[in-house]
Assembly symmetry: C2
Homo-oligomer: 203 residues x 2
């Protein structure tokens, strides 16, 4: 199915995601979404009533992507260190495919923290369940000597930060060489688990 044959509603959502994610709610113009979708501005309102409603549809999907999906890995009985490797690899792969999701989601949440709770509820998202089950497992492992909350946040920070700070890091460290930067990101799939496991495993 070629791009031109997509239903109008799908074309709008794709275009809206592209523009909203790059420019944010405040920076996005309805006209630009219409242009991106190759349709008329009025159709946006016909399908989504208002800019706010269209934004919510986009944000909900982006937020769901952003929250790591780890239920299967966490609940399986593979070794703990292996779970870390799988998580980092999977999550960084997702970020490579959606590099602008983190700064978009985090900016919008900081811009309007009040909406966070309703967003999560409307999406049926309960990240605290995943996090708590992860934390519980970490606590049960006697080999580890670290507050699981710090461990989880360290891991997330190391995975996400390069994508959020990409323009600076790419410029300062890699002379704006995109390929070199992306190669470096690939390395981190191995480097981050190594770094974590080195730190927390018994000496």
């Amino acid at each position: 199915m070629s791009k031109i044959d997509l239903k109008t509603e799908t074309k709008i959502l794709n275009a809206a995601k592209k523009v909203f994610v790059r420019k944010g709610l405040d920076g996005t113009r309805m006209q630009e979404i219409a242009d991106e979708a190759g349709i008329n501005k009025s159709l946006l309102h016909y399908y989504f009533r208002s800019k706010e409603k269209l934004f919510e549809a986009v944000f909900n999907e982006a937020f769901r992507q952003f929250i790591p999906k780890v239920s299967e890995a966490i609940e399986s009985d593979i070794p703990f260190f292996r779970k870390i490797e799988i998580f980092v690899d999977t999550y960084i792969s997702m970020l490579i495919n959606n590099p602008h999701i983190p700064i978009f989601v985090l900016h919008e949440i900081n811009r309007n923290p009040d909406k966070l709770i309703s967003f999560m509820q409307s999406q049926g998202l309960r990240p605290e369940i995943l996090l708590k089950s992860a934390m519980k497992e970490i606590e049960q492992k006697r080999i580890i000597n670290i507050d699981p909350r710090h461990l989880v946040i360290n891991m997330l920070g190391m995975c996400i930060f390069p994508f959020i700070a990409k323009p600076i890091l790419k410029g300062v460290i890699f002379n704006n060489n995109e390929k070199a930067f992306m190669n470096f990101i690939q390395e981190r799939k191995k480097e981050i688990p190594k770094f974590i496991i080195n730190s927390i495993k018994k000496k």
Copy 2:
């Protein structure tokens, strides 16, 4: 000198920083800055000509704050691990006092990466010098077995991420208890260096 006695230009800059940092360039209204400063909208243009110019003044200062100042620590001959402790402690302390700086700076840079170079040049900022001198030092230490670029980015990510993701983390991990969250941040001044040093020191 009480707040009401400040020069008008200073009052404007303070108000503009407050509003821009919280709402971003696109989300900020000149009227709101005027209200925050307790003056008339026209005065903003009298002092800064345009919204863009006023924004640049605010952004330049925020960006300078955001770039870690480490020259003294790096150039001194204190032990390497101690330098890490000092850096993390100093940088997190700055972030506690300016918690919204990271998401503001990183959002605006992602929104308009082209401006990054001119911003840095106009500010005389050369973060690559600091970074490279830090990397050089790291490479010279034979005790360490890690790519210095990964080490630096890991450290920055662990320091900055909790501030960027604060609304989510505070909600999910700390039931929106502000005090508990800030206490956790304080812990990280010790936890992050411990985590790093555990990982990279010779076994």
